[in-house]
């Protein structure tokens, strides 16, 4: 199985544009809403001045009547999206902070994944939930979770994310046009990050496929969201010291792309998991379990860089900085391999 590189390095007849992660999210929304008139965007403040994180700039003007501010009631407006999706529309729901998703526990856990199954496959639910999470914004304990692994144990859902602008564009477009419900996690600490994006239909991601965002032969760093960005920075530091890290953006928590991870660690023999979450119950722990169950052997025990298991995210800026793994912390974990 081949791994997906981004952006395509071969000579291709597509334009590569430098844009921010925020602009990439916006571009994905614009391109899908243009391609499909049944795509609607709803959520809290989504139509006000570009939305809280300005990802929706220009959409209400470009797509009149298709961007709708909702009241503050996540469980109900995700439930509404289900009703819209089984009656011919393709709704995209924005959750302003991933910490608000648990209030929609019924819609996300009991309805979205189970609805089609319980009817014996009578319907499809093309619903995308864009959930904005992550620390580093000084938002405190209840506005800083990534939430990326909370729903990965539910068959019936696709759980996706992106750690680069190119990924944000590619994965979000794939999510919106997918026939099953997708939770797509964005990271608010990435919105200002710039990177090359192939803005074309060819860039639409394959559902369930991780992306190798930097090639290297000495160690694999597997990460999601902001940790991808920091792993790439760590890889540059390591490169100066002669260590070439391969960075893999896992992108999908469900389904997990074990093949891409296995191909990478078979090459490097060493694995660092970089995750902005506690290790227990998350994708990092599940990947390690899957590698072990599948008999994948490593040259050294894997390392995990993540959030402490015995603390919660504080507001105080220096403490938040200390807790969220830095590029230096990721590089240090690599150096422990000696």
């Amino acid at each position: 199985m081949s791994t997906q590189l981004e952006p395509a390095s071969e000579a291709r007849d597509v334009e590569i544009v430098e844009m921010t992660y925020r602009e990439a999210v916006n571009a994905a929304l614009v391109d899908e809403m243009t391609a499909d008139p049944t795509v609607y965007l709803l959520g809290e403040d989504v139509a006000n001045d570009g939305g809280v994180f300005k990802t929706n700039a220009g959409l209400p003007e470009q797509f009149p009547g298709r961007v709708k501010n909702t009241p503050i009631c996540e469980n109900t407006f995700i439930g509404m999206a289900i009703g819209m999706s089984v009656t011919g529309l393709r709704p995209v729901v924005e959750i302003m902070f991933s910490d608000f998703l648990p209030t929609a526990g019924d819609a996300v856990i009991e309805e979205l994944p189970k609805f089609r199954f319980m009817t014996g496959g009578q319907c499809t639910l093309p619903v995308t939930v864009r959930s904005i999470g992550g620390a580093t914004g000084r938002f405190g304990t209840q506005h800083s979770a990534t939430g990326e692994s909370w729903f990965m144990a539910f068959p019936g859902l696709i759980v996706a994310s992106a750690g680069t602008p190119a990924g944000a564009y590619s994965v979000l477009r794939a999510a919106i046009r997918h026939g099953d419900p997708v939770l797509f996690f964005e990271h608010k600490g990435l919105y200002g990050r710039r990177g090359p994006v192939v803005r074309s239909d060819e860039a639409i991601a394959e559902i369930g496929r991780a992306a190798v965002v930097r090639q290297g032969s000495d160690v694999t760093i597997l990460a999601t969201l902001l940790m991808v960005d920091r792993a790439l920075q760590a890889a540059e530091q390591l490169s100066a010291d002669g260590v070439e890290a391969e960075v893999v953006d896992l992108r999908f928590m469900r389904p997990l792309d074990l093949d891409t991870v296995r191909t990478s660690v078979n090459k490097t023999g060493r694995l660092v998991i970089a995750e902005e979450q506690v290790h227990a119950g998350g994708w990092g722990a599940t990947i390690l379990s899957q590698l072990w169950l599948n008999g994948v052997t490593l040259a050294a025990p894997p390392r995990v860089v993540g959030l402490p298991d015995d603390l919660l995210m504080p507001y105080s800026p220096p403490l938040e900085d200390e807790l969220v793994p830095s590029p230096a912390a990721i590089a240090a974990a690599v150096k422990e391999f000696g």
């Binding site: 009631c73 509404m80 009703g83 011919g88 529309l89 009817t119 496959g121 639910l125």
Partner: protein
């Protein structure tokens, strides 16, 4: 259909539901139906009266006490029995069971085992119709207990604020599971909760099918005209306990008997006999005919195979 033939048809449909539910109980005792069931004997006028006020292209969501609504919306009885027996010929291929009688093609979008979960879905369907320029409405049925859960207020709020054509129908049977409404809820008339959301709230005698039909027809018209949602409170009663294992010992003495005097089938039957539309003898003949159909369809359902794991795999993901 003339008014007379429509009311005779209502009687037939209510009898079908009643005899279906009684057969379910029987099949349960025979070990052919498993798990749990939530039967609706006593509440038939609500499903029949309300659903007969809808167009074929309108949308519905129902609850785990939904056998009556599903039959009335047109799911074939054999497919309902097969579903209860977990067979691959069931309306949900045997994976849903008693609580999830669904028929998307007939606009019956979902049957929910989580209290309150159907309201947002109905709201979304009606909103979808509005966005697509259609005058289809959505009707969502739920119990008195659901008026204490967040989605009830959240859905009424949005439907009213955006003038979405939803008819919210409370089947107030006085008990939320085993607990009397009075113990959990500060008002007896749940329709008053409409006031908080700026929409009409109507109390309806849920045992009187003419009253049910008229109230729903009016609410549907309002929805179609773009005037927004309505909340209808059907005062009704379940003759059985909450679910199969509930003997309903919490009911005060005499309460069941008082409600049985207001059995919707008896009330309509007496009315039809008195008006000369259908004699009591003819009603007895009708009941026997339906009983034979019910028995025959249950027999046919028993002959169907169980689904396989391979078969149900494709129901998880569409893509």
């Amino acid at each position: 259909m003339t008014e007379r033939s429509q009311r005779v048809e209502w009687l037939r449909r209510m009898l079908e539901i009643r005899l279906f539910e009684e057969k379910v109980q029987e099949l349960f005792m025979e070990g052919l139906i498993h798990g749990t069931t939530h039967l609706c004997q006593g509440q038939e006028a609500v499903s029949v009266g309300a659903i007969s006020a809808l167009r074929d292209d309108d949308y519905l969501t129902i609850t785990y006490r939904g056998h009556g609504h599903a039959l009335m919306r047109g799911i074939p009885m054999e497919a309902c029995f097969a579903e209860l027996m977990g067979r691959s010929t069931g309306c949900c291929k045997g994976v849903g069971g008693s609580m999830h009688f669904t028929d998307v093609k007939r606009g019956l979008l979902g049957a929910f085992a989580i209290v309150g979960a159907g309201l947002p879905v109905a709201l979304g369907a009606a909103y979808s119709a509005k966005l697509q320029g259609s005058d289809q409405v959505a009707v969502t049925f739920f119990g008195d207990g659901a008026t204490n859960i967040g989605t009830f207020h959240e859905a009424l709020n949005i439907a009213s604020a955006w003038k979405v054509g939803v008819v919210f129908i409370i089947e107030n049977n006085l008990y939320g599971e085993y607990t009397p409404l009075r113990e959990t809820t500060p008002v007896d008339d749940l329709a008053v909760r409409a006031t908080a959301h700026g929409i009409p709230g109507v109390i309806v005698d849920g045992q009187d099918i003419d009253a049910v039909h008229a109230a729903v027809a009016e609410a549907v018209e309002r929805g179609r005209a773009g005037e927004g949602p309505s909340l209808l409170e059907m005062k009704t009663y379940r003759f059985r306990g909450h679910s199969r294992t509930d003997p309903a010992k919490y009911r005060p003495e005499g309460e069941l008997e008082r409600w049985q005097e207001r059995d919707p089938i008896v009330l309509l039957g007496q009315n039809l006999a008195a008006g000369g539309a259908l004699s009591l003898d003819d009603q007895e003949t009708l009941r026997r005919e339906i009983q034979e159909q019910v028995d025959a369809q249950a027999e046919r359902a028993k002959a169907a195979p169980f689904p396989t794991i391979e078969e149900i795999r494709s129901y998880v993901y569409a893509a």
